[in-house]
Symmetry: C2
Subunit: 169 residues, 2 copies
Amino acid sequence: MKHTLSVLVENKPGVLTRIAGLFARRGYNISSLAVGETDDPDVSRMTIVVSGDEVVIEQVCKQLNKLVDVIKLTDITDKEFIGREMIFIKVNCPDAKARMEIMQFVDIFRARVVDIGKDTMIIEATGEAAKIDAIEDTLRPFGIRDFVRTGQIAMVRGAKNPKHPKKSN
Amino acid sequence: MKHTLSVLVENKPGVLTRIAGLFARRGYNISSLAVGETDDPDVSRMTIVVSGDEVVIEQVCKQLNKLVDVIKLTDITDKEFIGREMIFIKVNCPDAKARMEIMQFVDIFRARVVDIGKDTMIIEATGEAAKIDAIEDTLRPFGIRDFVRTGQIAMVRGAKNPKHPKKSN
């Protein structure tokens, strides 16, 4: 089962290594990871998507919580949350006909064209993993030249998230 | 100076730990990181943004290239590239007047409302770091409850990017 962990950490060197190491030592592969600064420059937030056995994930979470660098960890898998990622896809676009078709798909998926080259286009899209896969499948016939995706980020719906609760120790 | 590295790696446990470790051992803090699968499930792409001294970054790149897990590393800092990230911002929205104002800002920034709660809204936006900062500043007066950002992803403009060039060894 896929778990989505939202982790507030100290923004300093070595934190990522320690956290990634906890997963790696168990042979767990992080399938997606997004790390970015929060509005407090001393604090970063990691959104980790990892698939694995319930019990072991729980163990890893407990150990993550013990790291001094971890301010707060939440397994939001069972909560109502919005989870999305962003992608860039560079597709072949040799002529006006292909361009028109691609633009139509871009419209349908509420995506955006962010660059046009001599015979390529770069498209930006956001959405859940399933939508991203659908976009990829739709554009594949044109020939995908390049493909980059952010990891998933997630936010719990409604108003319950407190802002940056500092660990009380 | 900020460097943007685009790294194709084997998609397996431990790779992230080794790569993050290379930076951490030098005291270099990765300021943003995005890891996602590519259209080849055995290959992931990391986009790493790191600030630091030119010479040392070059050394780190050389060492990264030596890791067997690294298929291809490109420092795209000096190339013409599109670099963007995505954010979720949860803001306070106590009444209709605030909602109207927020919706206007959303329009101006070509962002999207992705959730409305009893007295909050979640907004999704994509763009360069400067734009993201502007959005954050604009929404701050309403009260930011929560803030998540993906790391930056980047793609070189035009048609030169070869697709998944396997390391020739």
